[in-house]
C-alpha cells in the first residue's frame, strides 16, 4: 500500500481533476434536491409570519412580518402545557429505557447464559413488529388500570417499545469492548456490577448518547399511542395537542398553526443539529450491522 502511494496519489490527483466538471453537476443536482427537501420547512417558517390576507393571496414570502402569531399560537394551543407534558413523558421514558437497556445490553453482550440467543431474537423481533399489534391490548389494560389520560399511559409503552432499540445498540457496543478490561477489573476484585457500572458503562458513552437522542426524538414525535391513550386536552403531548388544533376554532388558520408547528419543531431541530453525528451513526450502525 505504502509503496504504491506515489502512484495512487497521482491517480487521485488526476481523478479529482477529472471529477471537476462532474462534481459541479453533482453539486447542482444535490442543491436542487436539497431545495425540494427543505423548501416545505421554509414555507412553514414563512407562513408562521403571515396574516390571513397574505396567506389567501397565495404569497410565498411573508412581508410585512407578523410575529404576533407566536404569542397567539402559544396561548391558543396552550403550548406551554403541551411542552411540559411532552418533556416529562419523553424524558422519563428515555431515562428509564436507557438504564434498562444498558443493563440488558451488558447482560446480552458480555455474560454467557442459557437462553441468550432466544432473548436476543425477541429483541430483534421487537425492532420490527408494528406498534399496532399492541395498541388494543394496551388500551384495554390501561383502561382497566384506570391509567388512560395519565402520563404513565405513555411513559410505560414508550419505555417498553424503546427497549428493543436500546438493548440492540447497547449489546452491540458492549460486545465490542476488549475483554482485557474486564479481566483486569476482575483481578482487582471488582464485582460483576462494579465492572458494569465503573469500568464498562463509562466507555459506552457514545452508544448511550445515540440511544438517548434517538429515543427522545422518537417519543417526542410519537402520535398513535398519544392519540389513543390520551383523550383529554390537559394531558396531551405536542403532536396530538397540535392535531386537536386542527378541529378547533383555529381550523384553517394556517399562520397560527404554522407558528405552533415551528414552536414544536424547534427543540427537535436543535437536538438533531447538536447530536446529528451520534444520531446518524447510531441509525446506520443499527441498519448495516445486521
Amino acid at each position: 500500500m505504502i509503496a504504491a502511494s506515489p502512484m495512487a496519489a497521482g491517480r487521485a490527483a488526476r481523478a479529482s481533476w477529472k471529477l471537476g466538471a462532474g462534481s459541479l453537476v453533482a453539486l447542482a443536482v444535490l442543491l436542487a434536491a436539497l431545495f425540494v427537501s427543505i423548501a416545505p420547512g421554509l414555507y412553514m417558517l414563512s407562513m408562521s409570519f403571515m396574516d390571513n390576507p397574505q396567506l389567501f393571496a397565495g404569497r410565498v414570502v411573508a412581508w410585512p412580518l407578523h410575529p404576533d402569531n407566536y404569542p397567539r399560537a402559544w396561548v391558543a394551543s396552550n403550548i406551554g402545557g403541551l411542552y411540559w407534558n411532552s418533556i416529562v413523558v419523553s424524558t422519563v421514558s428515555m431515562i428509564v429505557t436507557l438504564g434498562l437497556s444498558a443493563l440488558a445490553g451488558y447482560g446480552l453482550g458480555r455474560i454467557r447464559f442459557a437462553g441468550r440467543g432466544a432473548i436476543y431474537t425477541l429483541v430483534l423481533l421487537g425492532l420490527t413488529i408494528p406498534l399496532q399489534i399492541a395498541l388494543i391490548p394496551l388500551f384495554i389494560n390501561l383502561r382497566s388500570l384506570g391509567l388512560l389520560n395519565t402520563r404513565l399511559a405513555l411513559i410505560g409503552p414508550y419505555t417498553g417499545f424503546g427497549l428493543a432499540f436500546g438493548t440492540y445498540i447497547m449489546k452491540g457496543f458492549f460486545e465490542g469492548l476488549p475483554r482485557e478490561l474486564e479481566e483486569a477489573a476482575r483481578l482487582d476484585g471488582a464485582s460483576e456490577f462494579g465492572i458494569f457500572s465503573r469500568v464498562m458503562l463509562p466507555l459506552t458513552r457514545p452508544a448511550l448518547a445515540t440511544v438517548a437522542i434517538f429515543l427522545f426524538l422518537q417519543n417526542w414525535n410519537e402520535f398513535l399511542f398519544a392519540l389513543t391513550f390520551i383523550t383529554e386536552g390537559r394531558m396531551r403531548t405536542l403532536p396530538t395537542g397540535i392535531y386537536a388544533l386542527l378541529s378547533s376554532e383555529f381550523y384553517g388558520n394556517y399562520p397560527i398553526l404554522a407558528a405552533s408547528l415551528v414552536l414544536f419543531s424547534v427543540p427537535v431541530l436543535v437536538l438533531y443539529f447538536l447530536f446529528q453525528q451520534q444520531f446518524i451513526e447510531g441509525l446506520t450502525a443499527g441498519a448495516l450491522k445486521q
Binding site: 495512487a8 491517480r11 479529482s16 471529477l19 462532474g22 462534481s23 453533482a26 453539486l27 444535490l30 434536491a33 436539497l34 425540494v36 427537501s37 427543505i38 416545505p40 420547512g41 414555507y43 412553514m44 393571496a57 397565495g58 410565498v60 425477541l122 423481533l125 420490527t128 413488529i129 408494528p130 406498534l131 399496532q132 399489534i133 399492541a134 395498541l135 388494543i136 391490548p137 394496551l138 384495554i140 382497566s144 417499545f161 414525535n221 402520535f223 398513535l224 389513543t228 405536542l238 403532536p239 392535531y243 386542527l246 394556517y254 404554522a258 408547528l261 419543531s265 427537535v268 431541530l269 438533531y272 443539529f273 446529528q276 446518524i280 441509525l283 446506520t284 441498519a287 448495516l288 445486521q290
Partner: protein, 274 residues
C-alpha cells in the same frame, strides 16, 4: 414480556366478538372476524392501497436515495453539511409535515396549485387530497419526500464501506463513471439496497400518522390502508375483534417481510462462502 403478551392478546381478541365497552371480551366466534374481513370490500381496498403505497414508495425512496448517495459520495465541499440537511425531513414530526403539505395541496391558494397556474398549467389545479384519483399519489409523494433522507444516509454509509481497491481497480481498467457505477458499485451495493428496500417496505406496512392526519383514509377509502382501517375499526366503530384481526394480519405481513430479509441475507452469505 412486553412483546409476547400484546401479540397473544391480539390473536386471542381476533377470535372473539367485542365492542370494547363491556369489561371483558364477548363470545368466541372462531375465524368469523377474519372471514368477515375477507368479505369486506373496504378491507381489500385497504390492502390494495397498502400494497400500492409500498410498491410506488419503496422504489422511489431507495432509487432517489441511491442517486443522491452516489452524488454525495464524491469529494464535494460541505458534504457532511449536505447529508445533515437531507436528513432533516426524517427527524421532523409527521404532524408538522402533514399540516404543511395539506396547505401546499390546498385547492384555491395552496402552493402547488398557485405554482401550476403561474406556469400556465392552471387546468391541472385541483384539490389533490380531496380527489379520490390523486389522493393516494399525493400522500405517497409526501412519504417519499420525508423518507428519502433515511435511505440516503444508509446507502451513503454502505458506499463508504465498499472495498476501495475494487472500485479503484475498475477505474484503472479504464471504466468511466457510468460504467463504474452500474457494473462495479451497484452490484456491490445490492445487499444494502435490498436492506434499505425492506426497511422501507416494513415502515410502509405500518404507516398510520401520515394518512390518518392528511386524509383519514378518504375520500371514499381511496387512501385507506391497513393501519388506518385498524384504528377506525377499534376506536370509531368499536369493533375490537375485527381490529385485532387486522393487527394480526399486519403483524404477519411485517414478519413475513422481515423473514424475507433474513432469507435473502443468508443466500448472500452462502454465495459468499461458496
Amino acid at each position: 414480556m412486553f412483546l409476547i403478551f400484546p401479540i397473544g392478546y391480539s390473536v386471542w381478541l381476533s377470535f372473539h366478538e367485542w365492542n370494547g365497552y363491556t369489561p371483558s371480551w364477548g363470545p368466541f366466534i372462531g375465524l368469523a372476524n377474519y372471514t368477515a374481513l375477507f368479505g369486506d370490500d373496504v378491507f381489500w381496498k385497504a390492502t390494495v392501497n397498502s400494497l400500492v403505497f409500498i410498491a410506488v414508495r419503496t422504489p422511489l425512496e431507495v432509487g432517489l436515495g441511491f442517486v443522491l448517495a452516489l452524488l454525495l459520495n464524491r469529494r464535494l465541499p460541505a458534504r457532511s453539511l449536505l447529508r445533515t440537511l437531507f436528513f432533516v425531513p426524517v427527524v421532523m414530526s409527521l404532524i408538522v409535515v402533514t399540516i404543511i403539505f395539506q396547505r401546499i395541496y390546498e385547492l384555491n391558494t395552496g402552493l402547488l396549485n398557485t405554482l401550476l397556474r403561474e406556469i400556465g398549467l392552471g387546468a391541472l389545479a385541483h384539490p389533490w387530497l380531496g380527489d379520490a384519483a390523486t389522493a393516494l399519489p399525493a400522500v405517497i409523494a409526501v412519504s417519499v419526500w420525508k423518507n428519502v433522507g433515511f435511505s440516503l444516509v444508509i446507502l451513503l454509509a454502505g458506499l463508504q464501506s465498499l472495498p476501495r481497491d475494487v472500485v479503484e481497480a475498475g477505474r484503472v481498467d479504464g471504466a468511466n463513471v457510468w460504467q463504474l457505477t452500474t457494473r462495479v458499485i451497484t452490484p456491490l451495493m445490492r445487499p444494502i439496497l435490498l436492506l434499505a428496500g425492506l426497511l422501507s417496505v416494513i415502515s410502509g406496512l405500518k404507516v398510520f400518522d401520515l394518512i390518518f392526519i392528511m386524509t383519514r383514509g378518504g375520500p371514499t377509502y381511496s387512501t385507506e390502508v391497513l393501519g388506518t382501517m385498524l384504528y377506525r375499526q377499534a376506536f370509531e366503530l368499536n369493533e375490537m375483534g375485527t381490529a385485532s384481526a387486522i393487527a394480526v394480519i399486519l403483524l404477519l405481513l411485517v414478519l413475513g417481510t422481515a423473514r424475507l430479509q433474513t432469507l435473502l441475507f443468508r443466500e448472500r452469505g452462502d454465495a459468499a462462502a461458496g
